[in-house]
Amino acid sequence: MAAVREFESEIVAKRSVMDDAHLVDLSAPSGLVAAMRPGQFVEVLCRVDGSYDPLLRRPYSLYATDPANDRFTLLVRPYGRGSEWLGQQRPGATLDILGPLGNAFEIRPKSRHLLMVAGGVGAAPLVMLSQRAVARGVAVTYLMGAMDAGSLLPASALPAAVEYLVATEDGSQGHRGYVTELVADYIQWADQIYSCGPEPMFRSLRQVVRQHRVTREPRVWVSVERTMACGLGACLGCVVETRRGMRTSCVDGPVFEMDDLLW
């Protein structure tokens, strides 16, 4: 596992995406980006010197990495006080970042077909994963769900080789309804399934997978979201219950095999 660092990072660029969200390009100490893996995250301190409110860092998944330039990208949706603050920072500003943290989405050597199921900002780690997969010549189908067309990831965000299908709740683009309603068709095809999004999406996903899967394959890996304090397995505040006991979502996760989770 790559060494974790607490480092000063500069916002080198920022652009809008998915309606009100931001893609934030950040600098990193030399060499660190090369060790970052899809599914991992960093924790951002969302406050200025001299203020202790908000106190804790906010975790953000890696959306993309650029090892050659020592840069990486986060996808941040303004939601509460941390992400609002972060979204307001401009290029040139420096952030205090801890990472990379957590385990990663793994692609098995034999996998040829990968299915990815994204909801909202859960799209972030799967973008990075799809890039790695395509680079290895693995076929990817990327399903994304959102409220409306404006909140979807643009197709240009994904490698050209990726098959990208979308679902919107208001039917303004792609399938009208939930993204999980698109999953059934791909279960036999996929060697592995990856998902990141809100918990209700995971519950639907589990249901459709259980319905259509004959063996234990394809297995499903999900990135879970828990409130975190330390990000390093020290506070035990972010645990999830698994068949193998309590596991921290910051070190043992955020990626878990769905069948291992006791929900």
Partner: protein, 323 residues
């Protein structure tokens, strides 16, 4: 370079000598290993383990933590492998470490505290015991040990009789008369006291219409509680003769200096570690630099400087010196 070393168990032949006064607090630094990849753990004055209980505990259901203004609430529920599992796993690693490892113990029965202390006493790799008395006492219908001087003294006595290791008793801020509790545990044989543990608090999720924490209430920590912690350290340091270890909301060098001036001989840092782990290192260097700049040769020069009661006792004829 000011001399920042300190012995936190001056009454104990086994000593608890720290190279510097910065200690990572219980529950906020795991077992020391979690931070080994990020900072030089060996440079710390000491660290305190997560609270260990007589039996394995899988802790409280989730959510266990939530953020508050300038603070956080936690209800981890003492998730830990239990004393037996703990002894197998961690002290053997610590044996090779330079940094003193202090074990925090929690129990709901006096006999269990003593049992754990006995097991720790014989274990290499352990520098001291911190007794967490902010636990419910089953024999007193769940009334917290730490709220009552007599009950606190009873636990202390039992631990003292079970071990020759340095014993730190960690006081509860729920006590009305914290100085009285401190005097009682001092008399019962504590080598040092540490304070404060968390305050009991709550937050409500107004969407789900119930407390955010599955456990309903949780322990409040972080800068929000610093004024309460500092006041209690001041009150305790004014009356006891044993070292006082101050903690509660320390986030930087100036906070630490406040605790020293209030009468603390060393400090613990808990919640700060979560957002700003590398500050543990800058804190060690920063305290040293602050002392240099202010013209102090050693840390002891500032301990209690702002504590009128403590200064008065120091300059009073040392009638109790023989004790």
């Amino acid at each position: 370079m000011a001399d920042c070393s300190v012995d936190l168990a001056p009454r104990n032949p086994r000593e608890l000598r720290l190279a510097n006064p910065v200690i990572a607090a219980s529950g906020c630094f795991g077992y020391g290993l979690e931070y080994a990849g990020l900072i030089d753990v060996q440079r710390l004055g000491a660290f305190v383990s997560k609270g260990i209980t007589p039996e394995h505990r899988s802790g409280n259901p989730m959510p266990r933590i939530t953020e508050t203004a300038g603070g956080m609430l936690n209800a981890i529920g003492l998730q830990n492998p239990g004393i037996k599992g703990f002894l197998k796993k961690y002290p053997p690693v610590w044996e090779g470490w330079r940094v003193p490892a202090i074990v925090n113990i929690s129990a709901e029965r006096v006999a269990d505290f003593a049992m754990m202390a006995r097991l720790l006493d014989e274990t290499p790799g352990i520098a001291g015991i911190e007794v967490n008395i902010s636990c419910p006492n089953v024999a007193a219908g769940g009334y917290c040990f730490g709220w009552d001087a007599a009950m606190s003294a009873e636990v202390t006595r039992a631990v003292r009789q079970a071990t020759t290791l340095p014993v730190i008793v960690k006081l509860s801020p729920g006590a009305i008369d914290i100085a009285g509790v401190a005097l009682a545990v001092e008399a019962a044989g504590a080598d040092a006291v540490s304070l404060i543990n968390t305050l009991v608090g709550m937050a409500i999720d107004i969407r789900r219409r119930r407390p955010i924490l599955a456990n309903e209430t949780g322990g409040l920590s972080g800068p929000a509680i610093k004024p309460v912690a500092l006041r209690m350290v001041y009150q305790v340091a004014a009356v006891v003769d044993i070292p006082v270890i101050g903690l509660g909301g320390i986030m930087g060098v100036e906070d630490a200096i406040e605790f020293f001036m209030a009468g603390a001989s060393a400090i613990q840092v808990g919640t700060m570690i979560f957002p700003q782990p590398t500050r543990l290192m800058t804190l060690i260097d920063g305290i040293d630099a602050w002392l240099d700049e202010a013209g102090f040769q050693d840390l002891s020069g500032i301990i209690g400087l702002a504590n009128a009661g403590m200064l008065a006792r120091r300059t009073a004829p040392a009638v109790a010196a023989a004790g």
